[in-house]
């Protein structure tokens, strides 16, 4: 158990979770109080001691599944508490073989029609135990898993799901429900029924994934599997290489992030609210106390809210980065006295109005992508041209209160840079910053001209993930 636990915690750290020594010890203590067979309680107990940030829960769950997936009432555990990892692995191997016999047998016994029929019944009734059993049988029958095959879990998942054809299953479930209903379903009822079935089918998919993972762990060993499944935490996902699922996770993480940032910025400002002592006014007030400065007067602080001008490259690979940044900036509008935004590829367009009066930022960001007029010649990045047009049309908007932020990888397709625009902007603005979503090591390679632009900026920041974006915005206001 000790070995297993320390391997587990090492892997959590590898996955980026900040597990401290105290927490490590707490976890060791926790497992003494909850039997490992009670898998779900066991998981929550470990989670409570090791995960102190809700957005890390998914990463935790993945590692947990790998390390403890073979443990649970359905996989009787050898009673030895001192099980070493070697032994554990051997034991898992045995379980694996047993499982193959069992579920393989079950799968062989059942014809595809029978399996489909039983699955249909399980989903219709919402019978969780039966759904789980069917998930296992389906993997045994359709995934075609063989020991030692260097194939990823997604491949097996795909094979299993393709054979189950869940889309038509859903329709069948709906048809049957309609047919059984005493009165024709209303639209609302139909929607609710469908959502219920979708949630059951989601559950089925999770069971299938879990089963595949269990088998892969048994085949390849805990550590190798953990390593394959390791994924960055949402705040560390690289904007430029995020998968669709990761994009969703980032979008979800942005909301609590903006709430936190807004509270922090407001608090900062509040703490600064009391300006320096105003001597003249204090002395004047003191006259009514016979010259005793009993009532100190403070100067009102200057309004501290900066004005933002955001100029964002929204071409191809950096588009996601621009979107998230715009999203964040507008979610924090209240913290700035004014926000104006411009987007470009080789042409440039103002998009401020798309956010105005639009409470739904996601929608506004979507409009930016579909409606902004940013193509001039061929839709390949041309910073130089975009900046020149920006200067001609909007340079008078820049004043000593404005902070101008450029977003982009500064990959200019070898066009002329027109960096004089930044030089002039820096003269007029309070600050000019540049955020680059590329890793620093790529800067100035190929057609990147970041340093040339950077010369005129007050700061150039690598901004590849939410963590870096957050820390930039935090400093900004």
């Amino acid at each position: 158990m000790l070995d297993l636990m320390s391997g587990f915690i090492v892997e959590l750290r590898n996955a980026g979770l900040p597990v401290s020594l105290t927490e490590n010890l707490d976890a060791m203590e926790a497992v003494k109080h909850i039997p490992i067979e009670d898998r779900s309680a066991f998981k929550y107990a470990l989670g409570a001691t090791l995960v102190k940030n809700a957005s890390h829960w998914r990463a935790f769950e993945t590692v947990f599944e790998v390390y403890f997936s073979m443990r649970g009432p359905q996989y009787r555990l050898p009673d030895d508490d001192q099980l070493s990892e070697d032994e554990l692995e051997r034991w898992m191997q045995q379980q694996m073989e047993g499982m193959r016999d069992r579920s393989g047998g079950a799968g062989d016994d059942m014809s595809p029609e029978e399996l489909a029929e039983m699955l249909y019944r399980a989903l219709m009734r919402g019978d969780e135990a039966m759904t789980r059993a069917m998930a296992r049988a389906a993997v045994g029958k359709y995934a075609g898993m063989e020991p030692g095959r260097p194939v990823g879990g997604t491949y097996y998942l795909y094979r299993t799901l393709r054979n189950l054809d869940l889309d038509s299953l859903l329709e069948k479930l709906m048809d049957e429900t309609e047919a059984q209903a005493p009165a024709p379903l209303t639209d609302l009822e139909r929607r609710l029924e469908r959502e219920e079935f979708e949630s059951r089918i989601d559950h089925l998919k999770q069971e299938i994934e879990a089963e595949i993972r269990r088998r892969l762990v048994a085949d390849r060993g805990v550590e190798a599997m953990a390593k394959t499944l390791r994924k960055p935490l949402p705040e560390d996902v690289d904007f430029m290489h995020a998968s669709r699922e990761e994009m969703v996770a980032i979008r979800k993480a942005i909301q609590p992030l903006t709430r936190k940032l807004a509270a922090r910025l407001a608090r900062k400002r509040r703490n600064k609210r009391r300006g320096p002592l105003d001597f003249r006014s204090t002395v004047r007030a003191s006259l009514s106390y016979g010259g005793v400065p009993a009532d100190p007067r403070f100067r009102y602080p200057r309004p501290h809210k900066p004005e933002l001008i955001v100029v964002a490259d929204i071409s191809g690979s950096v588009a996601a980065f621009a979107r998230f940044t715009l999203h964040l900036v507008y979610a924090l509008q209240g913290q700035f006295s004014k926000v104006r935004s411009f987007v470009f590829i080789d042409g440039i367009d103002e998009v401020t109005h798309m956010f105005r009066g639009q409470e739904d930022i996601t929608k506004a960001v979507h409009r930016v992508n579909t409606e902004a007029d940013v193509v001039w010649v061929d839709g390949h990045s041309d910073y130089g041209h975009a900046f020149e047009v920006f200067w001609d049309n909007w340079s008078r908007e820049i004043n000593p209160k404005s902070t101008v932020i450029f977003l982009g990888d500064a990959r200019n397709n070898y066009h002329s840079t027109n960096s004089w625009v930044l030089k002039e902007a820096a003269k007029k603005a309070r600050h000019v910053f540049w955020l680059n979503p590329e890793p620093r090591s790529y800067w100035d390679t190929g057609d990147s001209v970041i340093s040339e632009y950077g010369t005129y900026c007050d700061g150039v920041f690598e901004c590849r993930n939410l963590r870096q974006l957050e820390s930039f915005v935090d400093h900004l206001a």
Partner: protein, 294 residues
Amino acid sequence: MADHRFGDVASVRDELKEVEYLADEGIASVVFLADRLQKPILVEGPAGTGKTQLAKSVAEMTGSRLIRLQCYEGLDEAKALYEWNYKKQLLRIQAEKASDDGSTDWDQLHDDLFSDEFLMTRPLLEAIRAEDPVVLLIDEIDRVEVETEALLLEILSDYQVSIPELGTMEARQIPLVFLTSNNTRELSEALKRRCLFLHIDYPQMDREKEIVLTKVPGISENLADQVARIVRSIRQIELKKAPSVSETLDWARTLVLLGIESIDADQARETLHILLKYQTDIEKAAKELAVEAR
């Protein structure tokens, strides 16, 4: 074993249910563990998901007195821990002066002044000194400044309070401690390290239905089911603020008052403002619910 409050995780869940709190597996496990490890629980999650209620219900279930420290910006030691009763101290000094015939022992007086008699206990100290079983609830900890968290650290890790004039006061019994946070700011690492962490999210459909059935008198099984399903449906839409459990309950109560047995789309739309707080959210949800099933 004797000093454990709960036998196992399942019994925590059952006993909470008896006091009308519907816990899921995660909640029950962490409460169980908190008792075993004698550690505070930091409960985090969106507003209105039963964080405060959890502490109250655990108090009720264990027959403990609930001591609550409501946090707010500007909360300080004098309000959270203890304060000396200056007025009473001054009166005492004056009384001493008036009767002073040269025999006053000022050192002794000093000791007297900083004794129990002049100490005003605030919630944290009260919890430490309690002789009866108590549950300490430190509610909405994210509202105090991060510096103020330091006031709590000694209690949370050692269940004691140090008062310079009196020395260290140790807890007479280890209370169950709950801290809640709506996550409006990052809490300090030091605080998080001392606590078990419990994230309470919006409940799964089944549990929400059970909560509705338990908390809304006179509601039918069928209506509770519909309510829970529609709320789940609405939470899937991207909104500024998703409906919380308390809003679900308000909505269900309204429907019962209106004598509705089974909700149709029109009734749902007309009462959406109880469930949702922002006009844009209401419009969005109304549109979604009106849409033909996909």
